[in-house]
């Protein structure tokens, strides 16, 4: 019999929600547990096995020198390394501190030694090691996690859309919240994946899945300004869970103080 693939789940700076999505696959959890060898998944088990691992799922952003060393070790032990969620993929909500001015940081004297261990920025995993696949979302869509694990087990590339949320929204036949309600929707520039949840709940998309492939971020920002949104409002819209994704970061800087 073929050896079961060994899976490890790792946590860095994060809320645990993406690894929880694995446990939220209630109908499939036992099948997954049967098909793979869960070698390291602290949130679920106190039994841990040393590497190497076939698949490492990484949640969370890198914010300390210790975590930077840890991700290098994990990379060395992992055949496939996949980031799950906005923190690991783009630095997460905690990357909002990356926008603080350097001088402000210099003025800060940390009252406790452990603070000194903090890196200046909250980094995506890909700043330090090569990443084989990135799953977007804050949180990830649990069915994309299932697709990812199934694809890796079958030795194929996961099928995850890179197009914009608008396409999902249109396919669901939802009324456009920007056109009908003049709400500041990020749908045109945000990657699909949630199923256009917010428009379905009469709410504009606020960007959990980060920039879509080929996103025209500047054009949308300009349109939002034309519709009466202020510079600070546009900055806040672009700076949430994927604030440090280059496309959002660069455009948000352009609207600062405007």
């Amino acid at each position: 019999m073929r050896r079961k693939p060994r899976i490890a789940v790792w946590k860095f700076a994060s809320c645990d929600g993406c690894q929880l999505s694995l446990l939220d696959l209630e109908d499939h959890l036992l099948e997954i547990a049967d098909a793979v060898d869960i070698a390291y998944f602290l949130e679920a088990s106190r039994a841990t096995k040393p590497g190497p691992y076939d698949i490492s799922l990484v949640e969370g952003s890198i914010t300390t020198p210790h975590d930077r060393r840890r991700i290098l070790q994990i990379r060395r032990q992992s055949r496939f390394l996949v980031t799950i969620g906005a923190c690991a993929t783009a630095g997460g909500i905690q990357a909002l501190r990356n926008f603080r001015k350097v001088q402000e940081f210099v003025r800060l004297v940390y009252a406790h030694p452990e603070y000194i261990d903090t890196l200046e920025h909250s980094h995506p995993v890909s700043d330090f090691v090569p990443v084989d696949f990135e799953l977007r979302g804050c949180p990830v869509n649990k069915y994309q996690v299932l697709e990812l694990v199934s694809a890796l087990l079958a030795g194929r590339r996961p099928r995850v859309p890179r197009y914009s949320l608008c396409q999902e929204c249109k396919r669901r036949g939802l009324a456009c919240v920007m056109v009908t309600r003049n709400e500041p929707c990020l749908g045109p520039i945000v990657q699909a994946g949630c199923g256009a949840l917010c428009p379905a709940y009469h709410r504009p998309c606020f960007g959990c899945f980060g920039p879509a492939e080929g996103a025209q971020v500047a054009a949308l920002a300009q349109e939002l300004r034309r519709r009466g949104r202020s510079g600070p409002e546009v900055v806040r819209l672009l700076r949430t869970f994927n604030a440090w994704a280059p496309e959002f970061r660069e455009e948000s800087v352009r609207h600062e103080g405007a």
Partner: protein
């Protein structure tokens, strides 16, 4: 897991606690039967939420603070929405109030079922994890997953998704369900009620290490209901105050070994969560939960922390019964949310997260932008208490073989269902003039 022998001093160490949310460790130093030091170390990196909440618009706060915790995001959405509404003098109609309670009931079921079945029960039955437990008791594990799934379905219907729901707005919801949507949950909630009763009776048969700890319990107390979103702050010494007095009664202190602050009540450690809620609100249990409690061989108050798993069972019964009542009585509100006009001011609120009281306080300017935020999650309130509990447990487990003693210490921590991601969200950047 490792233990070292240095002369006569023993140390018990778990370098990475499993089956808890977030990254923590425990450390115990013992000489003879005396515990020299007990620490719950937190090495989850800080994420500085209070710092970057400054300058954000009030309407963004529920979604941003939800990201503190993927297991109890509704708790953060509830405490923050209420605190903001208090700052702006907004009150919501009964239908919105009922929907919030329904959403919270979904989260209690999902979070408690996760803890009871996947994180906690394996300890009592001697398994490393739920997967191993499921190989010997497949029906039990399936039952737990089914229950957890029903809790998640409530979150999906009302919140859009289970982790970081998208439908909570200051003043209410972005979209409210119609009667049929909620009625569709009814058969599932009936099933959940059966499962929660079954769960409670099952976990009550576990073997509980004999230990009684004279805790100071703290929870909300509501006039008629088992507390979730509203009430006064009740302490087991008889004190009861409005919830916005929280900061007068409870002080946070920094301890060097931890990336989290510790809270104390009049200098003492205290206990929040299911055990505290049950002891202070047993007369507010729903009928079925009360019936099940009365059949259990454990007289109140419960001072054995290992009984927290039974308290979680009872609270899931409460949540299922309340959800059914709300679904049946539901009439959609006229509008999904009440209009909110910001004004300069302060608002503070406490709700009952699955793990205990969660305090939020915000200051706003007249544009509704956050000037200052303070968040005190349940786990940081329990941390100091957990260390005391390790000391209290030590005498009866030190004679056990080393690996069993260490496992028992771990269990003591898991009794609290600690969420370390929550407890470290708030490590502040402290500014000192050089």
């Amino acid at each position: 897991m490792k233990e070292r022998k240095t002369r006569k001093t023993l140390t018990f160490q778990v370098s990475a606690l499993a089956r808890v949310e977030g990254e923590g460790a425990l450390y115990l130093k013992v000489r003879g039967r005396e515990v020299l030091e007990a620490r719950v170390d937190i090495f989850e990196p800080p994420r500085f939420f209070e710092a970057f909440l400054r300058g954000r618009h009030f309407s963004e706060v529920p979604d941003i603070t939800a990201r503190i915790c993927g297991i109890c995001p509704v708790a953060y959405q509830m405490s923050s929405s209420h605190a903001i509404e208090q700052a702006f003098g907004v009150s919501v109609p009964p239908a919105i109030r009922a929907l919030r309670r329904l959403l919270y009931a979904g989260e209690w079921i999902e979070s408690h079922a996760l803890h009871v079945y996947l994180l906690h029960a394996p300890d009592f039955l001697g398994y490393e994890d739920a997967f191993a437990m499921g190989r010997d008791h497949p029906e039990r594990l399936k039952q737990g997953l089914e229950l957890k799934k029903i809790g998640n379905e409530v979150l999906q219907v009302l919140g859009g998704r289970e982790v970081h729901p998208i439908n909570v707005a200051v003043g209410g919801f972005y979209r409210v369900p119609d009667r049929q949507e909620l009625q569709a949950l009814r058969p599932k909630l009936e099933r959940a009620l059966d499962l929660t009763v079954e769960t409670t009776r099952w976990v009550a048969t576990f073997e509980f290490p004999p230990i009684e700890i004279p805790y100071v319990f703290v929870a909300l107390r509501h006039e008629h209901e088992y507390p979730m979103n509203e009430g006064r702050l009740r302490i087991s010494d008889g004190t009861e105050v409005p919830m916005d007095r929280f900061e007068d009664l409870f002080q946070e202190e920094h301890v060097p070994h931890s990336n989290a602050l510790h809270c104390r009540y009049r200098g003492q450690t205290y206990h929040v969560g299911p055990l505290a809620r049950l002891n202070l609100n047993a007369d507010r249990l729903t009928p079925r939960a009360r019936e099940v409690l009365e059949q259990l061989p454990f007289p109140l108050p419960w001072r054995n922390p290992f009984l927290s798993i039974v308290a979680r069972g009872l609270e899931m019964i409460v949540a299922a019964e309340e959800a059914l009542r709300i679904v049946d009585a539901y009439e959609p509100p006229e509008q999904p949310r009440v209009p909110v006009s910001p004004r300069a001011g302060r608002g503070a609120w406490i709700t009952e997260a699955p793990r205990g009281i969660l305090y939020h306080r915000y200051d706003f300017n007249d544009e509704g932008l956050v000037q200052e935020a303070k968040i005190v999650p349940p786990t940081s309130q329990n941390l100091a208490r957990m260390e005391e509990d390790l000391k209290a447990l030590a005498p009866q487990v030190l004679s056990l073989p080393r690996d069993q003693a260490t496992w028992r210490f771990e269990q003591m921590i898991r009794n609290y269902d600690p969420c370390i991601s929550c407890a470290t969200h708030f490590l502040r950047l402290e500014v000192e003039e050089a």
